[in-house]
């Protein structure tokens, strides 16, 4: 049970600053995910919360009290590492009870706690094995078990699933979500995989080059990306982007000229736009519909069948690539010339500096 607060946290390695002043309040019992591309500073941020890395500037508060001078051992947090970092010279049971041994818990109580956790994680038969005798998925469980035994204030997880195969990842995602519900403890989860963040987290922090791009619930990020970066990072397939130029603008409507030469009219944003201003138009695959009269014309390059739906990978006349979602039983074939209509109220607009231009009307729900 803990809140974790970051106040203007900066981190430099030597003279190189990798975290540029982050403010964040993580609520008690929240499942929060740090997501971003490789090297954006996710692990560094997590390690500063853990106390494994010094904060160069700013403050980390755990349960409201400054943690700078508290060593990792005393912060009451547990961490699950990407490489698991189990003690190779100890059995699974010893690995799990190590923290209890250090805190002087009596042997009987230690054993009882280890057994309880082992039962929850279904790894009782493994207790006497050594890490070298376990599979990746089993190591993973032991690492999580080791963290659970301590009953920490919060769990810190650094890409715990990235060494597992896809099937196991899917299974562990569900299991972690279940564990979070059962343990009812704050979890801070680092991943570069937006899908993991989207499926498990209550809130997501999108990081890019040491800055917070956006903070919000998975759906908020999906429906209202605040920046061009978030729009491109969250959601699969990736949002489609079209270069456009403002032609005319009035209170209700914005007419854009696409590079292909066609024009498209969308609801106008609240911010003022000038004619001839260059912007980006974003549209998700599910908001494009096949329509003979559609404004986006192109040729299908590849078809991706996923059963219930299919993705049409299309190349527009000006060379822009577009992914559109359609029914699983589509008759379209690679080489076909097609046209799409964009659901204009579901489009996203980004100015030249990458900020989203908001509208007053609520966005359409994704279907």
């Amino acid at each position: 049970m803990a809140t974790v607060e970051l106040r203007n946290v900066r981190k430099q390695f030597g003279t190189h600053e990798v975290i540029h002043g982050i403010d964040l309040l993580i609520q008690d019992r929240e499942f929060i995910a740090f997501v971003g591309p490789s090297g954006c500073g996710k692990s560094t941020l997590l390690r500063m919360i853990a106390g494994l890395e010094q904060v160069t500037e700013g403050e980390v508060l755990i349960d409201g009290s400054p943690a700078q001078d508290v060593p990792p051992a005393k912060r009451g947090l547990a961490m699950v590492f990407q490489s698991y970092a189990l003690y190779p010279h100890m059995t699974v049971a010893e690995n799990m009870s190590f923290s209890l041994r250090l805190s002087g818990t009596p042997k009987a109580e230690r054993e009882q706690k280890v057994r309880t956790v082992a039962r929850i994680l279904e790894m009782e038969p493994l207790l006497e094995r050594r890490p070298s005798q376990l599979s990746g998925g089993q190591l993973q469980r032991v690492a999580i078990g080791r963290a659970m035994v301590r009953q920490p204030k919060a769990f810190l997880l650094d890409e715990p699933l990235s060494n597992l195969d896809a099937a196991l990842q899917g299974q562990m995602r569900l299991e972690l979500a279940r564990l979070h519900r059962e343990l009812n403890t704050t979890m801070i989860y680092v991943t570069h995989d937006q899908l993991e963040a989207m499926t498990m987290a209550d809130r997501i922090v999108v990081l890019n080059q040491g800055n917070v791009e956006q903070l919000g619930s998975p759906l908020e990020l999906y429906q209202h990306p605040a920046t061009f970066f978030v729009a491109g990072f969250i959601g699969a397939p990736k949002m489609n982007f079209l270069d456009a130029e403002v032609k005319t603008v009035d209170a209700q409507h914005l007419t854009l000229m696409l590079t292909s030469g066609t024009s498209i009219t969308v609801p106008a944003p609240l911010q003022k736009l000038n004619a001839n201003e260059k912007i980006k138009l974003g549209i998700r695959a599910e908001h494009l519909a096949l329509e003979p009269e559609g404004e986006l014309r192109g040729e299908i390059e590849a078809l991706e069948h996923l059963g219930p739906r299919a993705y049409l990978h299309t190349r527009l006349a000006d060379g822009t690539r577009l992914v559109a979602q359609t029914d699983g039983d589509t008759q379209a074939r690679p080489g076909d010339h097609v046209a799409f209509r964009a659901r204009s109220e579901a489009t996203h607009l980004f100015n030249s500096s990458g900020r989203a231009l908001t509208r007053s009307d609520p966005q359409a729900e994704p279907c």
Partner: protein
């Protein structure tokens, strides 16, 4: 297959030749120790002779072998323990909390091994005299541990570096203090390496002659002093010297032979993991 077999075979010859070359002086010494003084210096050397134990009798009669041996044991164990006690924290900090200067410090430490010990003989002698450490076991332990320290630090450093830092971080997250992290995680993980380091240090200290010759006379003298006392500028002494040398190296030779498995395991510790 044939080719590999052939290479192996040739390699075996080379290895045997080198090993025999290194072992030959010891074998010769062993043979000499059973010869009479006359036979020991005869040219050409006699390969067949009547073995005699008279040198051993003479040597053991003239000096209290056990007293020297006890000092050797105390000094080599004591120096090794002291060196480990100093080197473990040093190597731990250099391996896991390196600074820009860490490599320089390591190289500098090693470079002190290249300094001829005689270069610091006078200052050390005076210091030891003023501190009352001359001819004391403790004084010898102190100087021996200082002289093996660079090698011990260097070896421990390279063993510690094989341990992923994240395992130590995990123990920190589990609530371990630095001492607990060292005792419960790092040291157990490096046991083979530490054992190899300790064995090497014991052997080096056992064989150390310079300081024991110069800083001890009677009370704290070790087997190297014992051996040296049988060389004299004139007269026949080869056979007795050989007997004394054999007595000096026998314990460490047996010790080394018994511990060679640990040594090999330790020295290849990183490679097999």
């Amino acid at each position: 297959m044939r080719r590999i077999g052939q290479v192996r075979w040739e390699l075996a010859i080379v290895v045997w030749a080198v090993a025999l070359g290194m072992f030959f002086p010891i074998l010769w010494m062993l043979l000499c120790s059973f010869k009479t003084e006359i036979a020991a210096v005869a040219t050409p050397p006699a390969l067949f002779f009547h073995p005699t134990l008279e040198n051993y009798h003479a040597v053991l009669e003239r000096a209290d072998y056990l007293a020297f041996a006890r000092n050797s044991v105390l000094v080599s164990l004591g120096s090794t323990l002291l060196a480990l006690a100093l080197a473990i924290p040093a190597a731990y900090s250099m391996a896991f909390f390196p600074t820009r200067r860490t490599r320089d410090i390591l190289l500098w430490m090693l470079s002190t091994r290249m300094l001829p010990a005689v270069g610091v003989l006078v200052p050390i002698y005076l210091l030891w005299r003023d501190l009352g450490l001359l001819d004391t076991v403790f004084g010898l332990i102190l100087i021996d541990s200082i002289s093996v320290l660079p090698i011990v630090v260097w070896m421990l450093f390279s063993f510690f570096r094989e341990v992923p830092a994240v395992i130590l971080e995990a123990s920190r997250m589990d609530g371990a203090t630095q001492i607990e992290e060292l005792v419960h995680v790092l040291l157990p993980l490096c046991t083979p390496g530490i054992a190899a380091t300790a064995l090497l240090s014991i052997i080096l200290c056992w064989n150390e002659a310079f300081w024991s010759l110069n800083l001890t006379t009677v009370k704290a003298a070790t087997l190297t002093t014992f051996t040296a006392s049988f060389s004299s500028p004139e007269g026949l002494f080869w056979a007795k010297l050989s007997a004394a040398s054999t007595l000096s190296i026998a314990p460490i030779l047996i010790f080394g032979w018994m511990s060679q498995r640990q040594m090999v395991r330790g020295l290849s510790f990183g490679a097999v993991k």
